[in-house]
């Protein structure tokens, strides 16, 4: 242990310089990170997720049990993972020219992607934020993301509604044909059995009429479903309750959102400086080849050991002995005070 203490003392200025350099650089980097990070945030109320999100993307037959906020958050997170979505977002902002001019668009999009943070705050409340180097870009990107998300959901809903409507329409046509066929069977039976019907014929006629009634009820149900499929999502959109932005994205006037990253940078620098210093002490201690004691002076032959001077405990920084000796020899009043004379 002693050799490491000595190595630390021997290299104290180098250690101090290294630690000061690493810690200083870390603190400066952390400050720059903090002071140049602007976060824009939107608080959103999600009332009802789009119908197509009520099922798992992996298994459409499986209903996903999620809160509206987590479903909206999942949708936004998935959209953000796609380059296509981000391209539309960037093109809707003032950064479109810079994006078009950049040499590495993929890296540009990756940086944009890293800036998003989506979080469900409750069963219906979610937060979407974006951090950028200037407040305007942060606000623009977030605004554009919410707008493009709305477009995508609307397009998706139209497609889904069309598919459901087409399915119902097809079923309606089949049911109409069956209704027509049932009506024809009933008419033919009525024509072929004039007068009073036997019990068997009456039962047969009642069955034909019942089948026709069932088919007509089914026809009415299908017409209602078709109307609902077209109108219900539109009504929710009109009410604005499905995805309601409670707090609009703002341009922040002071840095925000960089505290965590800055703290991480500062912590990393702190650990790196300490580790580097420890490593230097370790290496210095291992490589030190000093005289471990009087018995080793033989290694310096032909020079011989003449005398040893014991270590003198000092009161402050090892300067007491020298100051005291100087005071005794040269009469330094201040130093005499230091030795208690």
């Amino acid at each position: 242990m002693r050799r490491y203490v000595l190595a630390a003392r021997r290299y104290r200025w180098l250690l101090a310089a290294i630690v000061a350099l690493v810690w200083g650089a870390g603190i400066i980097a952390a400050y720059v990170e903090y002071s140049t990070t602007y976060e824009s945030e939107a608080i959103i109320w999600g009332q009802r997720p789009p119908p197509q999100l009520a099922t798992s993307p992996d298994d459409p037959g499986l209903t996903v049990v999620q809160t509206p906020a987590s479903q909206h958050a999942a949708l936004l997170t998935q959209l953000i993972q796609t380059d296509n979505f981000l391209v539309d977002v960037v093109r809707a902002t003032s950064s479109a020219d810079a994006f078009a001019a950049t040499g590495n668009q993929q890296r540009y999009l990756d940086n944009i992607r890293k800036g998003f943070h989506v979080q469900a705050l409750g069963s219906n409340l979610l937060s979407v934020s974006f951090t950028a180097r200037d407040p305007r870009t942060a606000r623009e990107i977030l605004d554009a993301a919410i707008a493009v998300r709305g477009q995508r959901v609307a397009e998706s809903r139209v497609a889904a509604t069309s598919a459901v409507s087409a399915l119902y329409q097809k079923e309606l046509e089949v049911t109409q044909a069956r209704a027509l066929e049932a009506q024809q069977q009933l008419d033919q039976f009525t024509e072929s059995h004039p007068g009073t019907l036997s019990d068997v014929d009456q039962h047969r006629k009642d069955q034909l009429r019942l089948a026709l009634d069932f088919i007509q009820i089914r026809l009415g149900d299908l017409r209602g479903r078709i109307d609902q499929a077209v109108l219900a999502p539109a009504l929710v959109d009109v009410s604005g309750m499905e995805f309601q932005v409670l707090d609009e994205p703002r341009e922040e006037t002071s840095p925000r959102g960089g505290t965590k990253t800055a703290a991480s940078i500062a912590s990393a620098a702190f650990v790196a400086g300490g580790s580097l210093a420890a490593l230097l002490i370790l290496i210095g201690g291992l490589l030190a080849d000093g005289l471990a004691g009087a018995a080793n002076v033989g290694r310096l032959a032909p020079a011989k050991l003449f005398a040893t001077i014991p270590r003198v405990a000092s009161r402050a920084g090892g300067q007491d002995l020298r100051a005291g000796l100087a005071a005794v020899a040269f009469g330094d009043g201040g130093a005499r005070e230091a030795i208690g004379e």
């Binding site: 030190a288 005289l291 014991p310 005291g324 000796l325």
Partner: protein, 208 residues
């Protein structure tokens, strides 16, 4: 025991050996800066003055870092360099220190002269210093070899001060090789652990 005696007690062993060997002029140097050479020279001078009950002259010949001259607040005073440059006579550059029997010669104007074998011979042969014990504080060998070699050839003994377990051995060997042209120095091991601790460690080592 008074405070001054407490301070010089650490150097009593070294002073006793110097006294026992009869050395009249000794110099202290080191391989590197910061080994405690000036402190050792100062402490030995004080201890030796008390021990021998005769005059001791402490000479600051450290052309690189004249810390003793600074301690004596004699930076602007004439000193060794001025004498070697024939600007001052010997008596005028020797200052009586506050401690009885201890005199001090500051380094003086270092730009005016450098120590040479001839000039230092004249100094040591002078009447003003001939009847005194001479303690010389020298610069580190590796950094100030030209300032050490003339002294090494003239002094009764040159001591190389090392810090225990701190001074790198290869550096010490290099320094000894350079000074070996003029003399075979002896080692003064500085800042050693207390002897009682050594004994305890030896007992512990013997048991294992």
């Amino acid at each position: 025991m008074s405070a001054p005696e407490n301070l010089t007690r650490a150097f009593d062993g070294l002073a006793s050996r110097v006294d026992a060997t009869g050395f009249r002029s000794v110099g202290f140097t080191s391989a590197l800066q910061g080994e405690g050479v000036s402190t050792t020279a100062l402490g030995t001078a004080l201890s030796l003055a008390a021990l021998r009950q005769e005059d001791v002259l402490l000479i600051d010949a450290n052309w690189i870092e004249p810390s003793l001259t600074r301690d004596a607040r004699a930076e602007s005073a004439a000193g060794l360099a001025d004498y070697l440059a024939n600007k001052s006579d010997l008596a005028s550059v020797i200052r009586p220190a506050s401690r009885s029997r201890l005199a001090f010669m500051p380094v003086g104007d270092r730009a005016s002269a450098r120590p040479t074998l001839r000039s230092l011979s004249a100094l040591l042969a002078g009447d003003a210093v001939a009847d005194r014990t001479i303690i010389v504080d020298l610069p580190p060998i590796l950094a100030g070899e030209p300032f050490v070699l003339p002294w090494a050839a003239l002094l009764d003994q040159l001591f190389v001060v090392l810090r225990e377990a701190a001074t790198p051995l290869p550096v010490v060997r290099q320094a000894l090789a350079r000074i070996g042209l003029a003399t075979t120095p002896q080692i003064v091991l500085n800042r050693t652990v207390a002897p009682s601790a050594d004994i305890a460690a030896a007992f512990a080592a013997a048991r294992t």
